[in-house]
Assembly symmetry: C2
Homo-oligomer: 135 residues x 2
DNA sequence: TACATAGTGTTATATTATAACAACTAAAAA
DNA sequence: TTTTTAGTTGTTATAATATAACACTATGTA
């Protein structure tokens, strides 16, 4: 069976956990994931964290650092595991992955004072989502 | 006594903890701070976290989200508490606050697909610092 | 003074994450 | 096929990070 670019054969635990995150409309926290997959035989935190680590590594999910939560990648899984940007609503906690060619390009090419370029970044914007702005 | 713009009279605990962070060459973690200020009478995690929360709020320090660690602000304390950018070395863990007018401007004006602007952001770049690049 | 606001000290507890080790599985090398 | 290897699993225990709740104290302001 020939693997396509970026295709990863998830293991059982990885698949269970990815499916849960992927179906969720908001980021999920590790222990909430644990609670939700216990009926499927995943009993310990470490089983969850191991799957999360792997899924992050291969770019199927991203960690929202300011929230200690995990969201499925929606940028075609994900050319940019190393270059992530999110908007986070400070009221309802809705999180959206930003996919902007302009932004990616700007940040990928950003050099600091010393002329140093970076291999990876994570950007989190905070504000109010549309819904919460109208309230 | 008239307060100047951005001047904050730190309380005893806030001052102890700010001084420690300010003197440190790298970001400090909450429990390492606790350990280091116990001789000064700060005995419990909550005393540390309360001071940290306040110092973050007024922009004297920033939290490095991906590291759960705290660093003193070096952008004149800090016009940009709500707009932070750091570079993080993935080998030696050195963290530097980036102060780039171009970057600030770009991000402050960034609008997503829906034309939404954000009131706040945090950006963390990862790579190798100069020293570690040469090794 | 009286009141409000913020900070303190304390104990207990919640939440997030990793260490250590034995066992299993799949794939690839011999 | 057997052997080896790398990766994953299941498990118990524990480390690291962060907050709840409550009584009390300081400080500024009306
Ligand atoms: Zn993505
Ligand atoms: Zn919202
Ligand atoms: Zn700053
Ligand atoms: Zn370095």
């Amino acid at each position: 069976m020939n693997k396509m670019h970026k295709e990863h054969n998830l293991t059982k635990n990885q698949k269970i956990i990815f499916d849960l995150i992927d179906k969720s409309s908001q980021p999920l926290k590790a222990y909430s994931i644990l609670y939700n997959v216990q009926k499927k035989g995943i009993k310990a935190p470490l089983q969850v964290y191991r799957a999360l680590d792997k899924l992050v590594e291969i770019g199927k999910i991203h960690k929202i650092e300011s929230r200690n939560a995990f969201i499925a990648c929606h940028n075609s899984s994900c050319q940019v595991a190393k270059a992530t940007a999110f908007s986070i609503c400070e009221i309802c906690e809705k999180v959206t992955e930003i996919s902007s060619a302009g932004l990616s390009k700007y940040l990928a090419n950003f050099k600091d004072k010393d002329g140093m370029k970076y291999s990876k970044y994570n950007l989190e914007f905070f504000g109010l989502c549309k819904k919460c702005t109208l309230k």
